[in-house]
Amino acid sequence: MADDPPRAAHNLPPLSLHVPEPRYRPGDTPDFGDIDVPPVGAMVRPSEAAKPDDIRDLSYGLIRVLDFDGRASGSWNPHLSPDRLLQMLRSMMLLRAFDNRMFRAQRQGKTSFYMKATGEEATSVASTMALDRADMCFPSYRQQGILITRGYPIIQMMNQIYSNRGDHLLGRQLPIMYSAPECGFFSVSGNLTTQYPQAVGWAMASASRGDNRIATAWCGEGSSAEGDFHSAMIFAAVYNAPVIFNIINNQWAISSFSGFAGAERTTFAARAIGYGIAGLRVDGNDALAVYAATAWAAERARTNQGPTLIEHFTYRAEGHSTSDDPSAYRAAEEASAWPLGDPIARLRQHLEEIGAWDADRHQALYAELEDLVKSNQKQSEKLGILGHGMHQPFESMFDDVFEELPWHLKEQREQMLAERVAKFGPDWTPA
């Protein structure tokens, strides 16, 4: 046994180390009654040119538009037309149908990995709708809603998930790490929050060239603890970059609750205050509030008023990924007890409330989207699924390390092709 390190002689009681602990673990009955949900209208929408110091309350409150009866009100109400609202609902429902289908495909052994966005659909769909189509998105790994909102073909997403012949990333990336420049969607890294300073760089470039496009980045509350987050915030503040930062505070980072990212001390939106930039805290399950907050931040960025940090207060209703089992670390009823409800159900309720929607039409749309996902899945699987044959030419492994292949990679490519012949014979072609 090692000796204790020396201690100072002192009359004070000994120090104690605080290690955060979530309130509820498996077997507990969660009660979120103490989460402060201010009434709709409590937070007043300021001018997009407001000074960050004058709107600090927005970093601590909760911007809401929809009440729990489906009514929209208050100064943040974006007053979207029923068509736009239906478009929003459709994208969120398509995202959920897509997620459910792909999760099942992973369970059926058709791919290695999947991540759902269940309960967080508004934070990517509604925020993307508030941007211009040409604005650049730097997503983390749970923002497939951006692609769906911008009309990226879902079969291409599936091809990527299956790493099949149709995967334009040539099977190089883990499932869901899409790249789609035609949709203003930056290549997903897999390392956390690295996209934050990159988004700032893109925004600085846009500003320095007198462009009108802005950049947007997403990360989780857990990964906001990364140093890259601070790097991005300080650069954005220094250069007044036209960028929107989204923190999706879904309460859980795999098994670590938000307390391990600092949530016991302050809100995530309040981090903006130290940098002197605008911070907004929004009900992430209220699609209209997400839209309104993003539209405010986008207008601010586009008019040279600088960056905004938006905390989307939401809940990760399912596991972190297909590799995760949340029942091992959190109370099973947390999602159903979440005081801010489900984003799709709340938007549907609103559409019904304004008379633009009903149960029959909802059921019909649900069935249509299920069919759309299923038929795309069928087509995609004709191009192959992961682990059932190798779908890419072996030599593609060496392309794109550099623009041109240097001699050492040419040699290694020859070695690999010889190995391929040794194992599969000279006539092998991709499955």
Partner: protein, 342 residues
Amino acid sequence: MTGDTMRTMNMIEAINSAMDVMLERDKNVVVMGEDVGYFGGVFRATAGLQTKHGKTRVFDTPINECGIIGVAIGMGAYGLRPVPEIQFADYIYPGLDQLVSEAARLRYRSAADFICPMTVRTPFGGGIFGGQTHSQSPESIMTHICGVKTVIPSSPYDAKGLLIAAIEDNDPVVFLEPKRIYNGPFSGYYDRPVEPWSRHREAEVPEGYYKIALGKAATVRAGEALTILTYGAMVHVTKTVIEEMGVDAEILDLRSLLPLDIEAIERSVQKTGRCLIVHEATRTSGFGAELAALVQERCFYHLEAPVERATGFDTPYPHSLEWAYFPGPIRIATAVKKILKD
């Protein structure tokens, strides 16, 4: 090379001229880093560039290397051609994730949807009493990353031509500048007066645009007795030692470690049958280990003696004892004698 007016430049002036030329030629080029703007850099590499090209193209940054490299990657994705400076190579580590996991892999992971045409300039190497945080030679950390090119000049002429080629390259390049020879080639004798670049032919540099292809070594001295593979400041130290010893060595200045000029190495070692590798970086897993492996794989039947390395020791770079650490004339001469005796 063009038929341009020649001017005598030290290495700093040549590097400054390369950036000046590229800022003029390509509106997408931006130069950024700690103290590089108004002040012109702690080594003066960017002096005058902000005044000439404006604040949005040459500017100071926060002291945050992760941010500098990460922001440069985002600028590259937009379509710019960023040239960030990391003030000392020793400071690059906070930005290493952005370099290793992002810059180096962006083309690959996105199947060329996005590229990273960034050149990270950074002074490296010791011999300036910089202590353990201003003297390191991290080149083998860079060459171990797949997707990054690593370039090291040893003269003003090469520095300008290689830097222009690096800036025009569509892949990320780490451009390591041997700061000990910014102002003059170093003989390895720290107790002798510094010789300025102005007395050297390699200080005659065209004022305009020219470039030197990445991946081509230079033969500093042709010879038959042994091959010495080296780069950066050690090129000059090695040359001095060889001249003093009167040995007919062939000295190759690799100039670019990745891509590497393997043909020049093979040609030379197969001719001489003996090979010494000289670098200032620590020995274990240093770039010399890669070179030694390549030489034995490709030239084994031509070798008449084991491949030797003269390198820095596997210790942090000591402040007061830096000349005992440095692979100077005694260490190099001892290795040369050993190779020639075997």
